[in-house]
Symmetry: C2
Subunit: 480 residues, 2 copies
């Protein structure tokens, strides 16, 4: 029989992540609770991922109304639904082959969705033009990133493609790089400076990497995943110069672009800064920018859609990108429709405008207030430090754990932050993310919490975390 | 700048398919018609793909009603919707984290969907048990097939994984094999015997392949894509024996299992036959079976969901499959819900049962009648032969083209069936698939037509095809 040791050797290194193990544990606990087992808690609260609906954030009504009409067009005649809902559904259905969301779309997505995305980007970037033929609709940002990585990968040994990757990184990135056969080249973000990118460190990482691979791309996430750091225009300019000098392809994850709430902060896209730096850059630097409906305020993870904008990419290479997206066939049409609404929401004067705006605003306020509240609470705990967050969905506190806890984890074959997260889950029914998933320096432990959750849920989580934390410290001090 | 010659060498061989070029041409013609250009036809009819909604086949109401309620749960209170629609939606929403289809699911899909699929298979296979943990929900059968292929691929040169592949094959298969780095090992189906699989030919292909690769898997599609051939139990038994003797992993595409309409024919799954052959086979032969909501009677291509059932696969290998599916994140929840309904339709006594049954039956009858009608028409055309079809969505006639047409095509750098299809599109606005996409022996030309389309549309297509065909023959005879 085909056994583990016969599996494609390129994939054999892929391991079940600690996060996956934590989520399985969380499901097992939920199953036990449902079978009537007594625990000190009634349900598991999972705030480990940026999946805000999971813990009770409500979907945006307009998105769901339009989708329900598109799926069941009889609702076009339902007068209880706002007229702009029905008009939007009718327009989008008119763009689907045979008037059905059940038809395949082009591998790059429905043309009207590409057009709306291009208009959205042009508006967002103060008029820097975006063109529909550079927009690739995909089943989420990760699918599109995988396509670009596949195209960039080549060579073996010292000529193998290296991708400069921030540490901490989005937890799915290492597996993706491994799957396509790229070398992860880490550059450390500066926690002390609020997780900012340090030019000297990026230079160091690039130079060091040349001994074992050929760095061809630079991956950035802005706002940072999971750090929440929002890059300044100056920092972006520096990165673009660096990419130009070193001929690096920029892969920029901008999925949290609508989640910037730090005072006086605003999101600035790499594309905009690139074009405002003048032709010597805007004609040359290759850039792929990723966005999706999953992350951010809308939180429609389950519908699966996102887009990639390519800038300065050789048209022959774009043909490959289209063809590869094609082997995954098109993104789900329901997701594409949600994306169209995200980039082209109801306008002032439309019947749904005020409700839409209000719902988005409510989520934004919840996010900003929760981030502040969580930060204040966390820095009050002994042995916890936390950089202020200014964007994104996560807060990423650092745990200064007792040596006895670290020792215990080591003897259990775990990272200390995994031991911490497991214990928190077992004792309090709260599931957080373990920092080791994001790559971290030795003995620097973190946990990850999604703060886009109803405020009452956050309060419950913080209360559990607070009492658990003290108990955990205490336990390992007694132990010593 | 990153140019074509720098693209991952493994992918550089991927070419734009003739089908893609035909569909672009079809879109251009549509755009010209919309701009008011005069043509001998008012619109393009595209029956090249198995995308039945595109040409007007209607979705199944129950599927769409449940989905609309899941997306917009306010509709739970809409009394105009049947009660079983609302009950089903409520139950499925209850299984989604946070009660929202906007939440991620497990990478293998929602557990209730896995359970319903396993029950469906058990029922279909006369009680041969199927287990939810062997069911992997994916964003379509192709995504799951790619995961399995990735796992099976290894080695270089003579040890590189070869996949025995029927010729004609599903047109997306060569690109998929190329992308993952597997060697396509063709075995020719026998057109003269209604596209049946010939044991001798499979032996020949296997033996010959050993000179340049290591055959590790055997790909089958039953009912055949695009041939429509339905395999007999005896033929399946032979294939299973062959796979057992040669230690081949069976990759079985069974997406057309609900489209068998040949008189006295029935679909027999590989899994069922395997288990009915006794333990010496059922404990040993490794099998992956694929099904989806896209193909077949339901035709929900745009919603993107399918499943793979693994049999006799090492649990350690299954963990890899789960992890790889995970890098694509979960299948869209809307698609998963449609899948749940496909495998678990309304039952007798349910308010929606009669309508659901009627709609499915209507599509089935349309399919069977159209297939018969198309076959009778096609064999009446000079220079056309066609095997009777007994399953699937396509009819796949062979064209005996004048040598002058073949010559003309050659000088245009095209296959003769592409020239034929292009001319048909240009002159009559009918888009069919060109046989060369499926791999064919030299000078054996075919076209592919989807027959699941409204009967009136089929009549229009046949009329256009008939007059075009005579004109095409005539043109090249005059030429000579």
């Amino acid at each position: 029989m085909y056994s583990r040791r016969e599996v494609n050797p390129m994939l054999r290194g892929i391991r079940v992540s600690p996060q996956w193990a934590l989520q399985r544990r969380s499901e097992q606990i939920t199953a036990l609770l449902q079978q009537g087992e007594q625990k000190p808690f009634k349900e598991v609260i999972d705030i480990s991922s940026g999946d805000s609906h999971r813990t009770g954030i409500k979907p945006i009504s307009f998105v769901r109304q339009v989708l329900s009409v598109c799926l069941y067009p009889e609702l076009l005649h339902d007068d209880t639904l706002p007229v702009d809902v029905r008009q939007r559904a009718q327009r989008l259905l008119g763009e689907c082959d045979g008037g059905s969301v059940g038809s395949y779309t082009d591998s790059c997505g429905l043309p009207p969705v590409q057009r709306s995305v291009a208009e959205f980007i042009t508006g967002r970037d103060g008029g820097v033009p975006s063109y529909p033929h550079n927009i690739f609709i995909s089943a989420g940002s990760q699918t599109a990133l995988k396509v670009m990585l596949k195209l960039l990968v080549r060579g073996k040994g010292v000529s193998q493609t290296g991708v400069l990757t921030p540490q901490p990184y989005p937890h799915t990135l290492p597996m993706l790089l491994e799957e396509v056969g790229a070398v992860l080249v880490p550059y450390q973000l500066s926690e002390e400076q609020g997780w900012a990118l340090e030019p000297g460190e990026l230079h160091r990482a690039l130079t060091a990497s040349r001994e074992h691979c050929r760095p061809r791309a630079l991956y950035i996430s802005n706002p940072g995943i999971p750090t929440g750091h929002v890059q300044s225009r100056k920092s972006i300019e520096w990165v673009i110069q660096f990419a130009a000098e070193e001929r690096l392809f920029l892969l920029v994850n901008e999925v949290y672009q609508d989640c910037v709430y730090g005072e006086g902060m605003e999101f600035m896209s790499y594309k905009r800064v690139l074009f405002e730096m003048g032709q010597q850059y805007s004609d040359m630097v290759e850039l792929a920018s990723f966005h999706s409906i999953s992350n951010g305020i809308m939180g429609e993870c389950g519908l699966r859609a996102g887009y990639m904008e390519l800038v300065n990419v050789d048209p022959a290479v774009m043909v490959f990108a289209k063809t590869l997206l094609c082997t995954d066939i098109s993104a789900p049409v329901t997701g594409q429709i949600a994306l169209e609404i995200m980039v082209n929401p109801p306008r002032p004067g439309d019947p749904s405008h005020s409700k839409y705006t209000q719902e988005i605003l409510t989520n934004r306020i919840t996010l900003a207030q929760n981030a502040q509240r969580a930060w204040e609470f966390l820095i009050g705990l002994p042995g916890v430090s936390c950089q202020p967050v200014t964007g994104g969905l996560f807060i990423y506190p650092r745990l200064n754990l007792p040596p006895e806890a670290v020792e215990q984890a080591r003897s259990d074959g775990l990272e200390a932050d995994v031991l911490y997260s497991q214990s928190l889950l077992d004792e309090e029914g709260v599931c957080v993310g373990a920092g080791c998933e994001h790559g971290q320096r030795e003995d620097k432990y973190h946990i990850r919490l999604c703060v886009l959750t109803p405020s009452a849920t956050l309060e419950k989580v913080l209360a559990c975390l607070g009492s658990f934390h003290l108990h955990f410290l205490d336990q390992f001090s007694q132990h010593a």
